[in-house]
Symmetry: C2
Subunit: 355 residues, 2 copies
């Protein structure tokens, strides 16, 4: 599959690229941006002509609604370069569809496919040198939309800005990850915005995560806010539990993000004849499995880290360490998934899309 | 009581005021801003020198964390001018304390009192002509803080901007307000950020409110997200229910904002020997009271509208109209509260603070 490009676009290129100042071997995730960005404004009820311009700060009014009422959504995607120097995306249509679902939930206008996917293709053509060859090298893609309309009255904005910025990244390694099972704090409400990739969902987790960090845990696995008995997701990742030889993960809901890596893991595991059960997983069940030794693995699945193995979890003050396996499913799936992404294995699913 | 002013401040005044271009008799809420604003940046772990500068757009990086992770909080306050041309605030210490509580919950730094209250006093001194005499005229005050640090990684920002902007307002009249009792959508989670004045709490309500608007309801009274059986708040207002001659309102919690108008209404009602019960109010109880005629009034309490009477509510498809009373408690309390705010009645509570 190949994406259609965006023809109706104004392009204003940098006079000199900053690419030679970048140390691609020592990148901190999400800190360095490429030469250009895509900008498209929405006003008078319509999307205006998009433009590709040098990456730079922009002017915004102090009363812009994004600052006061938090109308802001985003996506996370990656571009990969294969051995023949072709640039590939992974299931970009899934990100595009989810972006517009988030937009609807946050009372924001949907972004046209030509602007989101066509604009991304054009931007990647312009900044294609920033996608580096070699497994582990990616270009992280951040499409986002903010409410730019003026006025401190709590109502949806009439004006918006859609942007895509690009950040070169190395394979994301977050060290040994120990997690805390949430006992008090929560990420999302029933009937809330937990399934949307809305900015406010992330800052809501910072304070409880800070408290967890202080206790030596890198992340939190959130539970349902009403009873704290069901395992949900980890905020920047969906979560899988391996009990004996079965992979378990919570069904998506209004409280849980419908992760692209999550659904790819499920499909890939099924192809590999691994038992996958998509159902409510109880905290009690996890603790019991940890105690009787049937809990073999826990791992997160998300765009940034792809698969993030978890070494242990804490619940009600007790820490449960997971066994160190030689044949972890997490690593097997990560290998197969990244091989598809880097075009090192046949993409029998049709997930990869050429730029 | 009188506020201390901020002495350590850089001031850069406009060359000519735009005040004569403003039609103070026809103001739309929150759309017009005064000549100046206060700006104070936080970086390297410390608040920098604040400045008062002409109200204007400012530059911000596309990767600023406020756009991606929603670290943004605000307050809503008002300034009033008395008959002797003195400018007054209403319980500003309450807004200041709540602002820093919001900051903590959103993993943002606390703002010093000298910057928040001292800076506000200085800014009001500079723009005092914008506070108009006469009951119904106010200057709406919007202190807010946003995460300005760069980088698309979900973690608290290292840099922030605190700002105060001012908007002249007429007495807020929102027309006849019919409300919908939430049956599916929710505003806040247990263990979530509902008690913080965080930007994300507001945009989360826009879509369900839009759906309510399409059915002819101006606002939603939110219920607890787990069972939808308890009445909570209205998103921009706390809510009071009068059953027979008792005022009922929900206790504050992690899901409910600790409103300054709410607590003032409670104290004022008690002084007037009105029975007030702060306790969980059930939807069933409200419906039953509406059916048997003991439900006399519902009203919202918040800074913008002060008191907002509600004419009826809908629940599970049935609309319940409230009686039209000659001696509504809502209007009596509004009159007494605004008389204190405009210094037309003795402030026996010590709520008003002179600038």
């Amino acid at each position: 599959m190949e994406l259609k490009t965006l023809n109706e676009v104004e392009i204003n290129l940098v006079t000199s690229s900053k690419i030679n100042q970048v140390d691609f071997e020592n990148l901190t995730f999400g800190n360095i941006f490429t030469d250009h960005m895509l900008v498209c404004d929405y006003k008078n009820g319509a999307w205006q002509m998009p433009s590709i311009v040098p990456y730079a700060p922009f002017m915004i009014d102090p009363s812009a609604k994004v600052f006061h009422y938090g109308q802001a959504i985003f996506e996370g995607m990656k571009a990969y370069k294969d051995q023949q120097d072709a640039v590939w995306l992974f299931r970009p249509d899934e990100n595009y569809k989810r972006f517009n679902k988030s937009a609807t939930r946050m009372a924001m206008p949907e972004v046209p496919e030509t602007v989101f996917l066509g604009g991304l293709k054009k931007l990647l053509e312009v900044d294609r040198e920033w996608v580096r060859k070699g497994k582990g090298n990616t270009l992280y893609i951040r499409p986002f939309m903010i409410a730019t309309g003026h006025g401190v009255i709590a109502a949806p904005s009439q004006e918006y800005r859609f942007m895509i910025i690009l950040s070169p990244a190395k394979s994301y390694y977050s060290g040994e990850v120990k997690v805390l099972i949430a006992e008090h704090y929560s990420r999302a409400a029933n009937g809330g915005i937990g399934a949307a990739k809305a900015a406010g969902n992330y800052s809501a987790q910072f304070y409880p995560t800070k408290l967890a960090n202080e206790q030596g845990f890198q992340q939190i696995i959130w539970t349902d806010d009403a009873t704290h008995t069901k395992l949900e997701e980890a905020g920047t990742m969906n979560v899988f539990f391996r009990i004996n030889d079965t992979l378990l993960t919570a069904p998506t809901s209004e409280r849980i993000l419908d992760g692209v890596t999550r659904k790819s893991v499920i499909e890939l595991a099924k192809r590999e004849n691994i038992d996958v059960e998509v159902r409510s997983v109880l905290v009690d069940e996890l603790v019991e499995a940890a105690k009787n030794g049937s809990l073999k693995e826990i791992f997160g699945a998300g765009t940034a880290a792809v698969i993030n193995p978890i070494v242990g979890f804490s619940y009600l003050g007790t820490y449960y360490e997971l066994p160190k396996l030689e044949n972890a499913i997490a690593l097997e799936i990560k290998e197969k998934l990244t091989n598809i992404q880097y075009k090192l294995a046949d993409d029998t699913f049709g997930w990869t899309v050429k730029i």
